[in-house]
Symmetry: C2
Subunit: 164 residues, 2 copies
DNA sequence: CGTGAAAGGTCGAAAAA
DNA sequence: TTTTTCGACCTTTCACG
């Protein structure tokens, strides 16, 4: 069986350190990273460019605080969409900016939608809108124990110990 | 009724543009942002510092590609944890790096845990571990329609039109 | 991958709006 | 209070080894 399809990018320890620093603060200077990994800023820049080209690293963004911006209500909505309604559903759900994420999942419901709203009234209204696509089940978040981590997992990155 | 408790930070149009540019690429220079908003780099820096101090902006991070790093399986696990087990559950769940997020939610299950694993075997093993805390129901993601958006929503930011 | 020089970006003080 | 200007300093980029 050909396992080549499953191959992904190897990151060495320096790449991991660079990613870790960028995850912590994407605006650190190449010089500071270089000092940490004992390398020139130029070499660090080259590695970052390589990871961007490979697609392991997709870019740099901000950590925003939804609560501070008034988005107090976070909820997950399970939705059962029939196959014939999906063509209409997809563009609709993409247009709603309160949707944080929308996944197709296994189980009784076919969609799991994460949303953010300012008030429960706004959430209720949105859930009402969804009814035209199918049955819903809503779970409202009232506390978050582990906050969204986009991190990579160091111990999962060791593969391909042999070279080609 | 005092509504002061609900007040959050006002962002004007320039702040919104700055945030939008930083969300798109957190490593853009202050000069480039300044050119876009017709302002000096220094003034842009001052606004960013202010948003960081206020907490609206929490920092800068990377957009990583979990698939490229071998994290193919994404799943949501509903878990019913009894109150007396929570003291044990919280530190455990925080220590598992495959956990992307863990929320306390309303409904039949008290926890909704988002995870990433390399294989379904790894996921199965984790779900097995969770059984000691209570009943689980797992939904595996097989496609994502709307990808995680950390963005703020422009139309939600207009409040306090009157000045104090 | 490192070096060094040129180009470009950032920071802080002072002044202007 | 917020923004601009300006100089000093810091960072990035690129050609070359």
């Amino acid at each position: 069986m050909e396992k080549k399809e499953m191959i992904y990018y190897r990151l060495d320890e320096v790449d991991e350190k660079i990613l870790a620093m960028l995850q912590d603060n994407a605006r650190v200077s190449l010089k500071d990273i270089g000092a940490e990994v004992s390398m020139s800023p130029t070499a660090v820049g080259t590695r970052i460019d390589r990871m961007l080209a490979e697609g392991v690293l997709e870019g740099f963004t901000t950590k925003l605080n939804p609560e501070a911006m008034g988005h107090y209500i976070k909820a997950f909505i399970n939705l059962e969409v029939s196959p014939e309604q999906k063509a209409e559903f997809y563009p609709y759900i993409d247009s709603v900016l309160n949707v944080v994420e929308c996944n197709c999942v296994t189980g009784d419901y076919s969609m799991l939608i994460e949303v953010r709203f300012k008030t429960t009234a706004d959430l209720d209204h949105f859930v009402g809108e969804l009814q035209r696509f199918g049955k819903t089940k809503t779970q409202i978040v009232f506390s978050t124990n582990v906050k969204h981590r986009c991190r990579y997992w160091k111990n999962d990155l060791h593969h391909d110990e042999e070279k080609k």
